[in-house]
Subunit: 410 residues, 2 copies
């Protein structure tokens, strides 16, 4: 279960100072892992609004179903998370276990259960043991603290080899506001939903519908633009909470120009967190950026970019430091999106390899081969048809991925 | 480039006796490989009809473009194939090289170039060197022989670890007819097109439109029902030739009931060949059958089956002999097809693990764990919604796949 820290990990966790209105405590409930924290309790100040994006999987977990319902209220007072057990595909018994934890947390924090959000991550198909978690809640409540963010980032890890967090400072109409986020994920990472677990908080005052809109936009450019292995999780959840403690003035429209800086900061934070997930991709040794331009539209560009980023043959070539651009071309061809073979251009590491459907005259592989030896690989493809563009991020496919996943459960 | 023979390989190549109207010769042109055959010339009797199915890739190879055009004529007199170079994404230079080979073959065999079919397989992005192939044609023509099938199956291999062929005997309206097929492929194998290279011949007399219909149907249940790595090739081609030497009576309709036995034999042969490709899947140690039932319709069932068969997490779990049915459930959930979590049933090795959305009471993993240790793995999923069903075949994902593909080109 314990794997060496990814070579792509950032040097250190960013300093995560307090965010007014949020207090956290991690605990060791031994749900699956021993000798480490595996449960998290977060208390949110009264009046905190909430937005959320969730997996589109049809076999989603009990907590995902719960959060989707609870989101209708727009308010949050608490969050409970456990690692090691996804409580997915567990039927009524799984739902009951989750509800028991939520009710116990609501009682401890003296709030309505419908204001408690929940997330579970880990093995699929086993009912969450509720008692170990419930047994820790009173003690954890006594330890709730504003400086608990680092501990929280640790407690939600599964096959992650490093804790992941990011922080941004910005302003809304002159009022300084902050955004803090933590995230977990390194396998079962695929596009087209809110990938993995992520929890973001801001002290900005934002009505829930605005929060939802801003989070949805940021997710599309970040968590929904990464892939490790093309497998979509049953548990993916990103929740964002706004405590309002910063005291910015009232806002009624997500399109309000005074939210421009905030949206940019949120997008930057989400991209940072999403890239950290890729940097902890199971077995990853290279961080890969795939930029597609010239597609018919942005959606088409994203599909082509993911066809490249999900291709096992492209990903193994990168692992082998092989500038095998033919596999990139083949991935474009299989994407099912408009493309014209004879207008394609491909570059790697900023060097144009092919243009107008064949290799450039006098192509010298030397600088491309040097680029492939680095840790950061840049692939750019121009389709030559329109103005659509998209960027997605992935990692290489190595023996490490096989080792981690051929014995994950056993 | 040389890898140990797949543990899933059949004990031996089936005996490939002559098929009247087809003569073959293999040669060693050194296009990419040394010390082995890498080119194939096939002569077809005058009057031979032809059908074909090809990759749907938008970055398809020059020979695929050629064959699609030539197919309009419905007649074939020759086939030229080379291994080691796909002649894909090679622009005009690649087209010219291919045309030179085709014209030389037409001259040698004294036929029209439009009756010569071609296929290339191997590395993408490099222009086929025509001269070494052309230089061999006269000598190969002198060696054309009806018993050249085994040599042919060898000559078209790339990363294949064993030669692949199948033979069927059947009848049309009382006339005995035979079908012989050879195939190559073990990586860049994905659904939804005619996967890899396959060449099938029969001595039946069949008009080209009937041949095309019968081949299309058989392909859907065989070559389009396998996946090794979800990557679609630029070169996939299956061609089928009918020499007419068997002398069965005239047929004008593919739905003619006298073709029932022939269609069944052709489907059986195609499934046999397709399964051989999976059994030579790069790095494969387990042969996996995924059967989905109870889907809304057959197309939906096939998509769900492929979501399972393409899931890296399912495939690595199988490699690790881990009965990790949670990953099967997650793959169903991500398929994007109608499914109801609470109606799903999953069985492995014939043993029901989950029913109605959760694990069966008293589930005993022991017999399932024993099944996972075998070489033939059976996964069955019932969606519980309708009558749609489909079966697809795949292999596990192992360190061998990474080893083969991280240094294929270098």
């Amino acid at each position: 279960m314990s794997h060496p820290v990814s070579p792509l990990a950032p040097a250190e966790l960013p300093p995560l100072s307090a965010l007014a209105g949020v207090r956290l405590a991690a605990g060791a409930a031994g749900i699956r892992y021993q000798g480490r924290t595996d449960v998290l309790l977060v208390e949110l100040a009264p009046g905190t609004t909430v937005g959320g994006v969730f997996t589109k999987s049809l076999t989603r977990s009990a907590p995902v179903d719960w959060c989707r319902e609870a989101l209708a209220g727009g308010r949050a007072r608490a969050l409970v998370v456990n690692a090691g057990n996804a409580n997915a595909f567990t039927g009524k018994a799984g739902w009951d276990a989750m509800e028991a934890v939520i009710k116990a947390a609501a009682e401890t924090l003296n709030c309505r259960p419908s204001r408690v959000f929940a997330a579970s991550t880990g093995i699929i198909g086993q009912v969450l043991p509720a008692e170990p978690f419930i047994g820790k809640l009173a003690e954890m409540t006594g330890r709730l603290a504003e400086d608990g963010w680092s501990d929280a980032a640790q407690a939600i890890m599964t096959t992650d080899t490093f804790a992941k967090a990011a922080i941004r400072e910005t302003e809304i109409a002159g009022t300084p506001v902050r955004i803090v986020g933590i995230v977990k994920g390194s396998g079962m990472i695929a596009p087209d939903m809110a990938t993995m677990l992520g929890f973001i908080a801001t002290d900005a005052a934002l009505p829930a519908p605005i929060l939802q809109t801003l989070l949805g936009r940021a997710t599309e450019l970040s968590f929904n633009a990464i892939t490790v292995d093309s497998d979509t999780s049953t548990s993916d959840t990103v929740l964002m909470f706004a405590t309002g403690a910063a005291g910015n003035g009232p806002l009624t429209d997500a399109a309000d120009s005074r939210l421009g800086d905030f949206q940019a900061a949120l997008e930057s934070l989400c991209v940072d967190l999403a890239q950290q997930v890729v940097r902890d991709g199971e077995g990853a040794t290279k961080f890969v950026t795939v930029a597609v331009s010239g597609a018919e539209n942005d959606g088409s560009a994203k599909k082509i970019a993911f066809a490249i980023a999900n291709s096992p043959l492209v990903k193994t070539a990168i692992a082998g430091e092989d500038a095998n651009w033919g596999r990139i071309v083949a991935a474009v061809g299989k994407a099912g999106e408009p493309a014209d073979r004879d207008k394609l251009a491909v570059s790697v590491g900023g060097i144009t390899i092919a243009r107008d459907g064949s290799v450039v005259i006098g192509y010298d592989e030397t600088p491309v081969a040097a680029h492939m030896k680095g840790q950061e690989i840049d692939i750019a493809v121009d389709i030559g048809l329109g103005a659509g563009k998209a960027t997605v991020w992935t990692c290489d496919l190595t023996h490490g991925y096989i080792s981690i996943n051929a014995d994950y459960r056993s």
